[in-house]
């Protein structure tokens, strides 16, 4: 395929340190080119090099050709005429990509006035057309709105409108849906695909998610450590991966931890007393008054939720952002008082329990959060971080035993006793999540609440952490409440699942049954929206065969 956009032998150094080495790719009009890799593989750097927006101290060599002209050799002034006009870019974080103090109309119009020499009135006319083009006019989003008045998905549509405003030849989308919920992700991906097709743009789609790329891209390159390890037509490439890294990446994406079928999670445990029992739980937040005389109705974040978790049971809780799952987790941990209903941990209410009862309750339930780095005090050594929950056992164990427990917990998660003397910043993201798990294990809990524990991790690390969770459960008979927006993770690690929407649990049952034969319309929507690698590849296969045959 002859591309109008080509990267040839691109090397990028930052302060002498090589970031990209010999990256080459080519994109044709109307084609979506996928660039896949884990964090730090150089995907975003490739995009920034094409825009000449590399960070300070970066030096690029090689050629980046746009219709035969080398982007790397043009002046900054010429580059300013190119950016936004010939190459448009969509970024990952819609929440921060827009200027909070300017209206969306002003921000979309800016490029039009700059590149197309439009008057303000003409530009505003075009802004309205663009808002309609990206599906915002239907949602009654007018150009006078400010970014904070829009949802994440709507903001990403504004960013797309900005990127396509001057009808560029190339659209670069850097993780455009990573920060969005699956149902919104499906809408945004469909919008990008439709625009690329209709406007005959080329599109460079950057993602860590193999399923997203398989669904979207005509051709794919897989990157690792600044180099492209393998490229080809999507279905054909994934069917015959040859590089060991690509194979490992593929395996990690589909990874399902081996789960030993022990007595702890046989149907027999249904006779056991539940560790956690939730009945008709309600958690509501008051709203600011709408006017002086009328009290606004409170926002009900968790609405009459009931469930039990028995020893050794692994339960998933899935739902999109704002559905109430994190509020539920905070209530379960006793961090917030429920407005109605009851929570009981080993027969005690975690919020009102005091003294020795409170310690027993909190010892039994521990937590692992999404971002372990944020939950560690950066000035404490790992030994102290992990030992923190042991205050719940004060008086029962002495300093020597506490130290032994911390060491044992670290060994349990695959770290060593020597790591106790280190600080959190000395560890990688995956290791930090192991430390967070060690901290949860140190009181020998019966239930671990894990709130998006693998969402911030790369797929290969995610596979390892999921294995660790499965392994710990097999060895200690731990029960889990696994909170996640990622259906594939929940499917891999849980026996039972609850689907939450608008504060209510709308569907529950065995995980395989709920995901394979969803009954509630919302679950169906959720399952349909989640990209699945195998199905996407099968669809690609059909397209590619039709193309060649």
């Amino acid at each position: 395929m002859s591309g109008f956009f080509a990267v040839e032998g691109l090397d990028v150094d930052i302060h002498g340190k090589p970031i990209l080495e010999g990256v080459s790719l080519e994109i044709g009009r109307g084609e979506i080119f996928g660039l896949v890799g884990e964090s730090g593989s150089g995907k975003s750097m490739t995009a920034l090099a094409a825009m000449q927006l590399l960070p300070h101290g970066a030096e690029a060599r090689g050629r980046i050709l746009l219709d035969g002209a080398d982007v790397l050799s043009v002046s900054e002034a010429a580059m300013c005429r190119l950016r936004g006009r010939r190459i448009g870019m969509v970024f990952q974080e819609p929440m921060t990509a827009l200027n909070p103090v300017k209206t969306i109309g002003q921000q979309i119009a800016e490029g039009l006035v700059l590149h197309m020499r439009m008057t303000r009135a003409q530009a505003m006319e075009r802004v309205r057309a663009l808002l309609d083009r990206v599906g915002l006019a239907r949602a009654r989003v007018t150009p006078e709105r400010f970014p904070h008045q829009l949802s994440g998905g709507q903001r990403q549509r504004v960013v797309i409108a900005m990127a396509i405003a001057c009808q560029p030849d190339l659209l670069i989308a850097d993780e455009p849906t990573t920060a969005l919920d699956v149902t919104i992700q499906a809408q945004i991906l469909a919008l990008i695909r439709e625009i690329v097709e209709a406007e005959k743009m080329g599109c460079l789609l950057i993602s860590h998610d193999l399923a997203v790329v398989a669904e979207m891209a005509d051709r794919v390159s897989i990157m690792k450590n600044g180099e492209i390890v393998e490229s080809g037509r999507t279905a054909a490439l994934f069917a015959n991966l040859s590089h060991p890294y690509s194979k490992a990446l593929m395996a990690a994406s589909n990874h399902v931890p081996k789960r030993a079928k022990g007595p702890a999670h046989s149907p027999a445990n249904h006779g056991l007393q539940p560790i956690l029992s939730v009945r008709e739980l309600v958690r509501a937040y008051p709203q600011p008054r709408a006017s002086l005389f009328a009290k606004s109705p409170p926002v009900v974040a968790v609405n009459r939720v009931s469930f039990d978790i028995r020893p050794g049971q692994s339960v998933g809780l899935v739902g999109e952002s704002g559905c109430g799952k994190s509020t539920l987790a905070r209530a379960l941990l006793g961090l917030e008082a429920p407005n109605g209903g009851a929570i009981s941990v080993l027969g005690q209410d975690p919020h009102s329990a005091r003294g020795a009862t409170r310690e027993v309750v909190h010892r039994a339930v521990q937590v692992v959060f999404q971002d372990p780095y944020g939950s560690f005090n950066p000035r404490h050594r790992i030994g102290r971080v992990v030992a923190e929950p042991l205050y719940l056992l004060r008086g029962e164990i002495d300093a020597r035993e506490a130290r032994e427990r911390v060491a044992a917990a670290l060994t349990e998660v695959g770290l060593t006793e020597a790591d106790m003397a280190k600080y959190p910043h000395e560890f990688s993201g995956g290791q930090r999540q192991r430390i967070a798990i060690a901290r949860a294990l140190v009181t020998r809990p019966k239930l671990i609440i894990a709130d998006e524990p693998v969402s911030a991790l790369d797929v290969s690390i995610r596979a390892q952490i999921l294995d660790l969770f499965a392994d710990l459960r097999a060895r200690h008979g731990l029960a889990y409440l696994f909170i996640s927006h990622d259906l594939s993770v929940v499917r891999a690690i849980t026996d039972d699942v609850m689907v939450m929407n608008g504060g209510r649990i709308v569907e529950r049952g065995r995980t395989a049954r709920v995901f394979d034969h969803p009954r509630h319309p919302y679950t169906r929507l959720l399952v349909a929206a989640a990209p699945r690698l195998e199905e996407a590849l099968a669809a690609r296969q059909r397209i590619e065969e039709a193309g060649t045959g």
């Binding site: 825009m51 927006l53 900054e76 002034a77 300013c80 005429r81 190119l82 950016r83 936004g84 006009r85 448009g88 870019m89 970024f91 974080e93 921060t96 990509a97 827009l98 200027n99 909070p100 103090v101 300017k102 209206t103 921000q107 800016e110 490029g111 700059l114 590149h115 400010f146 904070h148 960013v159 900005m162 990127a163 600011p288």
Partner: protein, 314 residues
Amino acid sequence: MLVHAAKRFAGLFATLIVATAVVFLVLEVVPGDPAQVMLGINAQDDTLAALRDQLGLDRPAWERYASWVAGFATGDLGTSYTYSVPVADLVAARITVSLPLALLALALSTAIAIPVGVYAASKRGGWQDGGIMALTQVGIAVPNFWFAMLLVFVFAVTLRLVPSGGFPGWEAGLWPALKALLLPAIALALPQAAILARVMRSSLIDALHEDYVRTARAKGLTRRAVLWKHAVRNALIPVLTILGLQFSFLIAGTIIIENVFYLPGLGRLIFQAITQRDLIVVKSVIVLLVACVILVTFLVDLAYALVDPRLRRR
């Protein structure tokens, strides 16, 4: 926006009421007999009695408080003990010096600090940035009255460009009056400008690292256009906070500066009133200064909402 302003205004009014109550309590009720305090321990009994009668001290405290507060509305703030003229007249004469001085200093410090901060941020890490940062460090460290003496020495004594002190009055004409206020305003403004410039610089550097700046660059805006059109307005938000806080420091600063430059302003009035135990003058001037600061805070709050649309709906 209107609701926001109305709410802020109500809050401001409540603050003012609390301030008058505190000033009243501290100066009148707590130290015992104000007449005794004002006249000193060697005062004659009949003088004391006369002053008590003049101050209305035989009336209950809440009644005196009410009439004092009501005085602010009618303009009758009582009569100064030392000057034997109405406090309102004293204050009215002096505020025409102090308020222009403080406002001039505020305008100067903003006019110096914002361009300097923007320039330093745009040259971040360069020698220009380093030089400006060193200068602002000096500006913060050196007290304003020392600046004042330095300015007098250079511009008044050596160069003879401006008077070294005193105030000709506004009736002498706009330019002579402004000339008399120029040096004191500069002396007041410089240390504040140094702080403000540093805040502006660091806040702008933060803003330049935001994602929306990258988005704007991706649209094809030049580095300069992004700085002025996107980053500066966002960077102004923390600068406004400091600006509001600084106004009360400027007002307090006038007390010293007016003494250095021999200006007949509120600062010197309150300074003399305190040394002469003229409590009626002291409490009225304090309330007036409090009102000024509260008003500026209110204006800053409104400016916030102008700069940041996210605050308009509260």
